[in-house]
């Protein structure tokens, strides 16, 4: 297996923060880089194990599709689903503009 270096750079932190949709201050980024570096160095011990013939486990117990009959059922009331909205406009969730003018 091609093993990447575990040393994580500030550029990596920037990139990952963008993927995670998480705004970080400059100080946050440096602290995050150093903490992730420590954790990733620890996690590196996994590479010591030979797992060539090992199947991955995603769930510890067998998980299968569970089908139910396609029967109409009431949903939660619209008003209940809107009650927690931070910015509501009539029956809609309002968000900042997505399309440039």
């Amino acid at each position: 297996m091609a093993a990447p270096t575990t040393k994580i750079s500030l550029q990596d932190v920037d990139h990952v923060a963008r993927l995670a949709r998480l705004e970080l201050s400059a100080a946050d980024k440096e602290r995050m880089r150093s903490e992730l570096d420590g954790i990733l160095s620890y996690i590196d011990k996994l590479r010591a194990l030979d797992t060539r013939d090992v199947e991955p486990t995603s769930h510890a117990v067998p998980v299968t599709n569970v089908m139910r009959d396609d029967v109409e059922r009431p949903s939660l009331p619209q008003e209940d689903m809107l009650a927690n909205a931070p910015d509501r406009h009539r029956e809609m969730f309002r968000v900042p503009k997505i399309i440039e003018e």
Binding site: R21, L36, L46, T51, E55
Partner: protein, 496 residues
């Protein structure tokens, strides 16, 4: 301790049935205790006083009419604030959900209400269940009732401390890497993580979906049997809640452990662990032998890799689950955003605490292009190796007995380094990776008076044997009957 608040739930239930006391009397007494002690312990995020008194009065009426709903009717309970309660704020210990009021009940909550249980309130936790001390709650830290300068463990620290302090005889927590068993050990109570799939996760705010499981905190095995029986079983709302029959856990409790085969894993007795913990656990094993169990050494050789695998898998799943907090449909929204993406990023920066950000970043990193196979793929294969270790051990023994944690409750603020905090969970995490049931029960005290946890682990869906062994141990020991010296006069003098 006030009298009714010192009883177990099954003892309270017996007094309801004999007419010696009523749900309203018991609930009132527990609420009074919360009012007196919780300013110091800080286990509760929300106290649902009026709702509790209303439900208690309804239970009174059922007992008066001779039609109680069953063994949980009228019993006070409190819930970790990760379980959705309709119309009652559910914060998950996070600023991002500070004002979130769920439109539905979690399945476990609906089952408890249907059984007549009386909700006292919602309990503090590490934000999104990420932590081992409850210091990562966005609101305040919870204190250990045995020593208010120490942590109660985490992430279900409020649920453990509430039982330890006699503020509720029953609570529910969740366990993703040890978040029930570790605080149970630190707080001197029983805490059980059922098999993955034993209890529905519908309405449990997700952290790591392949690991999360809901379970009880109680004082004794009989109460745990009672509470697990009420919440376990298949659920059409959760396809991972497996349709395996739920036995009568209480009925099997008294059968004893004559001839039971217990495995003692060498890998759970390590250099650097607290010698008083090791001593207590060895003594507990000797007690179990006196009760008729046979012990033999077993080996779980991949134990030392469990923590590393967990810190890939759990953050990876968390980074995906927590993507839903975008400030659109519920929860916090930050102001002053230039556009939609900026709104997401600012909302998440303002709403998540440091530990949550760390795990979201770590999870996003290990799943990102170029790193997926080396980290996530490898961790899932190591998960298989950890699971095989248990399979091989359980081919020879019925249960595994081990310490719950390498040490006892630490001082607040003592573990500032994230990795040091994570190392608390080395003996609990492998059980989650393998999806197995495990319980921590009080197994002694240090000379300084801090509780020590004894962990029992069973094959999948064999909670009945776990509870039977816990019950047998508790008939031969009195650790679980000890109470912290936590009266109002004591806490007034203690450090805050």
């Amino acid at each position: 301790m006030a009298e009714l608040a010192s009883l177990t739930a099954h003892e309270l239930g017996a007094r309801y049935r004999s007419g010696e006391t009523t749900p309203t009397q018991a609930v009132t007494e527990h609420l009074a205790r919360v009012e007196a002690l919780d300013p110091h312990v800080r286990a509760f995020l929300t106290v649902t006083r009026e709702d509790a008194l209303r439900r208690a009065a309804e239970a009174d009426a059922r007992f008066r009419a001779g039609t109680p709903r069953g063994p949980l009717d009228g019993l006070p309970i409190a819930l970790k604030d990760v379980l959705c309660t309709r119309g009652i704020r559910t914060t998950c210990g996070s600023k991002i959900l500070e004002r979130f009021v769920p439109p539905y009940d979690a399945t476990v909550v609906a089952r408890l209400f249907a059984a007549g249980a009386v909700l006292l309130g919602k309990l503090n936790m590490d934000e999104f269940a990420m932590g081992s001390s409850t210091e990562h709650s966005a609101f305040f830290a919870t204190h250990n009732p045995w020593d208010l300068a120490r942590v109660p463990g985490g992430s279900s620290g409020g649920a453990a401390a509430a039982v330890a302090a006699g503020m509720a005889p029953l609570t529910l927590g969740t366990d993703t890497g040890g978040s029930i068993r570790q605080p149970a050990a630190f707080s001197g109570v029983l805490g059980m993580k059922p098999t993955y799939g034993r209890v529905s996760r519908y309405g449990l705010i997700a952290f790591a979906s392949s690991l999360d499981q809901i379970g009880p905190f109680t004082r004794d095995a009989e109460d745990a049997a009672l509470l697990l029986g009420a919440i376990a079983g298949a659920d059409p709302m959760d396809a991972t809640a497996i349709d395996v029959p739920v036995p009568d856990y209480r009925a099997a409790l008294g059968q004893g452990i004559e001839g039971l085969r217990l495995g003692v894993p060498a890998e759970y007795f390590i250099d650097g662990m607290d010698p008083e913990v090791e001593q207590a656990v060895r003594a507990a094993i000797a007690t179990l032998e006196k009760l008729g169990a046979r012990t033999e050494p077993v080996s779980l050789p991949h134990t030392e890799y469990g923590l590393a695998a967990y810190y890939v898998i759990a953050p990876a799943e968390a980074s995906s689950n927590l993507a839903r907090y975008d400030g659109v449909k519920y929860g916090l929204r930050a102001s002053g955003a230039r556009d939609l993406i900026d709104m997401y990023s600012k909302t998440r920066a303002a709403g998540f605490g440091a530990e949550v950000k760390r795990r979201v970043m770590l999870g996003t990193y290990v799943l990102s292009a170029g790193y997926y196979d080396a980290y996530y793929g490898q961790a899932q294969k190591v998960r298989t190796l950890v699971r095989r270790d248990f399979d091989q051990a359980f081919a020879r023994v019925d249960l595994i007995v081990a310490p719950t944690t390498p040490g006892v409750a630490f001082k607040m603020g003592e573990k500032a380094d994230p990795l040091q905090m994570y190392l608390n969970d080395i003996f609990t995490i492998p059980v989650n990776l393998a999806g197995l049931p495990g319980v921590s029960i009080p197994g002694g005290f240090t000379r300084a008076g801090l509780p020590i946890g004894l962990q029992l682990i069973a094959p999948a869906f064999d909670e009945a044997t776990l509870l039977r062994a816990a019950h047998a141990y508790q008939t031969a020991t009195d650790w679980h009957t000890r109470r912290p010296q936590l009266d109002v006069a004591t806490v007034e003098r203690a450090p805050r």
